[in-house]
Amino acid sequence: MWNLTTLGREVSGCGISGIIHRKGEPISGQMIIKSICCQYERGNGLGAGFAAYGIYPDFKDYYALHVMAQSKEALEKVEDFLQRRTFLTFQEPIPTRKVKTIHNPPLFKRYFVKPRVEGEESCGLFAEEEQMVQIVMEINEKIEGAYVISSGKNMGAFKGVGFPDEIAEFFRVDEYRAYIWTAHNRFPTNTPGWWGGAHPFTLLDWSIVHNGEISSYGTNRRYLELFGYKCTLLTDTEVVAYALDLLIRKLGLPLELACKAMAPPFWMEIDEMEEEERELYSALRILYGGAVLNGPFAILFAYNGGLVGLNDRVKLRPLVAASKGDLYFMGSEEAAIRSICPDPERVWAPKAGEPVIIEMEEGAIPNQKSYLKVRPKEVREDALRIRSIPLSLFTS
């Protein structure tokens, strides 16, 4: 079914859309469908997908694994593996509808699990998440014909080959209600679209939708492999998901700096900065050079607690943001936002390389994460702390 040897890296010009409610109130899937379908012409039917947060309140403390499989045998292998490596509390097929235009879809099943960490059921969040990352990487790499397409708590990704309305129909996206939604309409130009190559790309509760091309894919991939990430989905966007996980969750960079590591200021801009800022950005570029994303991109990424929009440093792909009350919107086109919010209080075009970060109010949702601040050192003992780097390193 998937002849992966013919696939290479993907280059695309796509449509993206995202919504977040800052107080965590649920938003109907119909809204995100309408918004992404307003940008119908940005895709060509070779991929679409959605990420939804807050959709599994009954299993909110379990990692929801959305698994896509080529065959029953592959699913059985996944299940064997999960039995060994996780506490599996519930599983079911992901509900789908028949869609005329979608032929031979893969099998989709979801599993709600907690990782076994040295036989114990409870351990620290960091260790637990590390274990989950390992589990996801192992399934994707070692079980042929099966891929984990999302693995976060209380969230899930729904994606496949088709136009966004078809994929929404297939996965019954209209029936879900979520406090964060992202959506993607794909226009792959270099490779055939395949189900695993559709966006969003996810890891834990990170999800990314992307319009553009990560031309630094090779560099990023090699850099991420040093930290144990395996790129198996053959699409450039995958590296963004892992880069976020590495920089923010593992290395503990505050969100904004992580964005600046991926889309750093030009050296000519750094040269004009005040000394403290100049040191910071020099350090960022030197330390995290392998995470710099080159090429045109507009991405939206989300996690349990926030939605972020980010452009490449010279804004080679469009991104518009808007807000009304507690609702915040981002999309490739203003029209996509206005299709679901005709009268936003504020509409703006984010600057190149400057993230738009919308985090929820504290305590709005269960297992909420916030990455705005530098986290205390004990949370991440092995983290590289940018402020503790000796200044002598930066005398140039």
Binding site: E41, P318, V320, E334, A335, S339, P342, A349, A352
Partner: protein, 247 residues
């Protein structure tokens, strides 16, 4: 009586077909309501029609057009006035990226801010001199590869108080035409081979002509606009890139 159309239920290709047919039949005044993301509106139309648009028209508004005057009560998205040849686009809101891409004639008046790469590849020939007037601020690469025409950047009606008047790489690759800026830009923002110059009498005449027209479109006071000093940004040699590939 202008022809009024509520276009929200229709796909852009249907709207464009309806517009073309109406114009073909002799309609010269049109009002479009409920516009949201409809692409290519008035693209390639060469009749002198007047069109009012309410909403947010989609990409490439008025691309390749040669004649229409479009007034948009709302914001325009990317690529408005792409390669337009004659006519006018008046935007009462703000504009996206690559507005006036490869524009070769006519005028674009924007009340507010514009995005990145506005006026990229603009060109002029004989009497055909395209003009873009931006009431707000501009993103990076304003007038990139500009070969002719006039861009006037006012920085007056901006939603972004925290941003500079113009972004980086202003006029990168520019080798013709002129960018007039109300206020100051740092020389480090300019593309290679460019310099800011004070205005000469000839420039003042050009500015006054275009700004008078601009102010009339938006009901602004010309003397307010002219209160501040302008700079003119042009290449300081005749062929700044003449030896780029021959050294």
């Amino acid at each position: 009586m202008p022809l009024e159309l509520e276009v929200s239920p229709y796909h852009y290709s249907q709207v464009n077909r309806i517009l073309r047919e109406a114009i073909e039949k002799g309609e010269r005044e049109l009002v479009l309501r409920g516009v949201n993301g409809h692409r290519y509106l008035l693209a390639g139309v060469s009749q002198s029609v007047r069109v009012e648009i309410y909403g947010t028209p989609g990409l490439d508004l008025g691309a390749f057009m040669r004649g229409p005057e479009i007034r948009v009560y709302g914001n325009v998205q990317d690529g408005a006035g792409n390669t337009m040849d004659e006519g006018k686009i008046i935007v009462h809101g703000m504009a996206g990226d690559v507005v006036g891409y490869a524009m070769r004639g006519g005028k674009i008046h924007i009340y507010g801010d514009v995005g990145y790469r506005v006026g990229i590849h603009m060109k002029a020939y004989m009497q055909k001199i395209p003009v873009i007037v931006i009431g707000g601020k501009a993103g990076d690469f304003l007038g990139e590869y500009m070969a002719g025409g006039v861009i006037i950047l006012l920085g007056m009606n901006s939603n972004y108080p925290e941003r500079p008047l113009a972004g980086l790489f202003l006029g990168t690759g520019m080798h013709g035409g002129a960018i007039y800026v109300r206020g100051k830009v740092k020389e480090s923002q300019l593309g290679a081979g460019l310099k800011p110059y004070p205005l000469e009498t000839e420039d003042e005449k050009i500015l006054e002509t275009h700004l008078k027209d601009y102010c009339e479109d938006f009901g602004l006071n010309l003397s307010d606009v002219l209160k501040e000093d302008f700079l003119k940004i042009i290449p300081y040699t005749h062929r700044p890139y003449g030896k780029l590939y021959a050294y």
